[in-house]
């Protein structure tokens, strides 16, 4: 049968972007503690895959996406009727391998042809953001690859395959000591919002609403900031 459709009262299913794996797992535990009798189940995957599943009638209660565009995919079909709320923001950082072998100091270095540069593809949020910051900085970036997600970029930085990349600060943080992050001024031009919303046909609407509220609460904000997000 369908997973959360039954009457266990507190069970909800949260579809969350893969980049939220760590922070949402923590939030889930905290939520269960705060709401005894409730149980939060997660399905982490790419935001777009999750949007597809929701549009195909997946029995989820809450959707937390990595970009407004993915949320729009579900609001467009009416799978989400509530207004999505932004619960976290993420800004770009320059990521370089440990020791910065390419001596990258700022966005201008991204135009150097002899450096190996990785960016996200424009179709994914971090790529769209990168495009914005380069436009703002007037830098003509010369990427060697346009990756399909941040993790792929990060893999290449940590293995030293590329000399520099633009990724989210949360990703730099999650990579531990394997990559070094550098802030840069133009990052403010492209802030990525993470939207969350309960689903219109949530099997357990009250708890779904409670979970969304919990994410937006101060407790939730604390966990997210700890992971490197900034407050909306």
């Amino acid at each position: 049968g369908s997973p959360a459709a039954t009457s266990t009262g507190g069970d909800i299913t949260v579809f969350a972007a893969a980049s939220l794996t760590e922070s949402f797992t923590k939030l889930g535990t905290a939520f269960e503690a705060a709401h005894p009798g409730s149980k939060v189940r997660f399905s982490f995957a790419g935001s777009s895959a999750l949007a597809q599943q929701i549009n195909q009638g997946a029995p989820a209660d809450v959707f937390a996406a990595a970009a407004p565009a993915n949320m729009k995919q579900v609001t467009d079909t009416g799978a989400v009727t509530a207004t999505p709320a932004t619960f976290a923001r993420n800004t770009l950082q320059i990521a370089v391998p440990r020791g910065n072998p390419g001596r990258v100091t700022g966005l201008a270095d991204f135009a150097k042809a002899d450096l190996k540069i990785a960016l996200c593809a424009e179709q994914v949020p971090c790529g769209a953001a990168a495009k914005k910051v380069f436009e703002a900085a007037g830098v003509k970036a010369a990427p060697d690859t346009l990756e399909q997600d941040v993790k792929a970029v990060l893999t290449k930085v940590s293995l030293g395959e590329v000399d520099a990349a633009l990724v989210y600060r949360t990703d730099v943080k999650a990579a531990g000591g394997k990559v070094e992050g550098e802030d840069f001024a133009e990052a403010a031009n492209a802030v990525n919002d993470y939207p969350v919303a309960p689903l219109a046909k949530a099997p357990n609407a009250p708890t779904a609403k409670a979970f969304v509220d919990f994410v937006l609460s101060g407790r939730g904000r604390e966990v997210l900031i700890e992971a490197g997000f900034s407050a909306p």
Partner: protein, 261 residues
């Protein structure tokens, strides 16, 4: 009694072997071995591994039950348009697995062409269940079995089937007792391919069945999630998966793999 192995064959064979094995060696060298035991015996990994093995094996059974007859039909019957059918059968191979998952959702999802009736009439919903994982893996892995077995069937001498027919054996008995044992090596090769592919399946599974620990989180999905949080752990998990699969496949005795002839 036979001569030395010819260099012109052995050299590319060794290069091929090196090409396949050195990357694995690279993985093994770079793996954070210290964390391996902890990973190995953690509850989630155990769960994911068990689920992976169960689902891949069930998917393989599904593929055998449906795929071997399909291969036989393609190889032995004189259906019109067999060439096109054979090409169509390979389609799930070419389809990016995520799109395959979407396609399965479109058909078997709650709003899917078939799925809505399954849901309405029988209350069966396949996505996001373990059955969904098996289905997704079978969808992706079946072409391997079908193509391998069909190749073996085409190479087999059809006159043995004629001999069986003259002894009064129906096509089904002939298939079971003569054709199938005759192409066992091909069937086993196909089964190995199929099982291995199902074991490593990721895209279609996560899209169609979602990612629920204990229910649909197989090892590749666990690896994917680990990549998000701890890439080293991902490598360790992959190695665990590899070791298990090598152990299982090497465990099939040579005799088995070389067929019962």
């Amino acid at each position: 009694m036979r001569s030395r192995l010819p260099v012109v064959l052995v050299l590319p064979a060794v290069i091929g072997l090196v090409f396949l094995l050195v990357p694995l060696a690279g993985l093994l060298i770079n793996a954070p071995w210290a964390t391996l035991p902890a990973q190995l015996f953690s509850q989630e990994v155990g769960q994911a591994l068990r689920l992976s093995l169960i689902c891949a094996s069930l998917a393989t059974v599904v593929c055998l039950v449906l795929g071997v007859p399909l291969a036989w039909l393609l190889a032995r019957s004189d259906l019109p348009g067999r060439g096109v059918l054979r090409a169509l059968v390979t389609v799930p191979l070419v389809l990016p697995p995520v799109v395959g998952g979407v396609a399965l959702l479109l058909v078997l999802g709650r709003r899917g062409v078939v799925g809505q009736y399954l849901d309405q009439w029988f209350g069966i919903s396949l996505p996001f269940t373990t059955a969904g994982v098996v289905l997704a893996e079978a969808f992706v892995a079946m072409p391997f079995l079908v193509i391998s077995v069909e190749g073996a069937l085409r190479a087999a001498d059809p006159r043995y089937e004629e001999a069986a027919a003259t002894l009064g054996a129906s096509r089904w008995l002939t298939f079971r007792r003569v054709t199938l044992p005759g192409v066992m090596p091909g069937v086993i090769a196909g089964t190995v391919l199929c099982w291995a592919r199902a074991l490593g399946e990721f895209g279609a599974t996560i899209t169609f069945a979602g990612n629920f620990p204990g229910r649909t989180t197989t090892m590749p999905l666990a690896v994917y999630l680990a990549l998000e949080t701890d890439p080293d752990a991902a490598i360790v998990l992959s190695i665990v998966l590899l070791l298990v699969s090598v152990a299982v496949l090497a465990g099939l005795r040579d005799k088995w793999i070389s067929g019962p002839s």
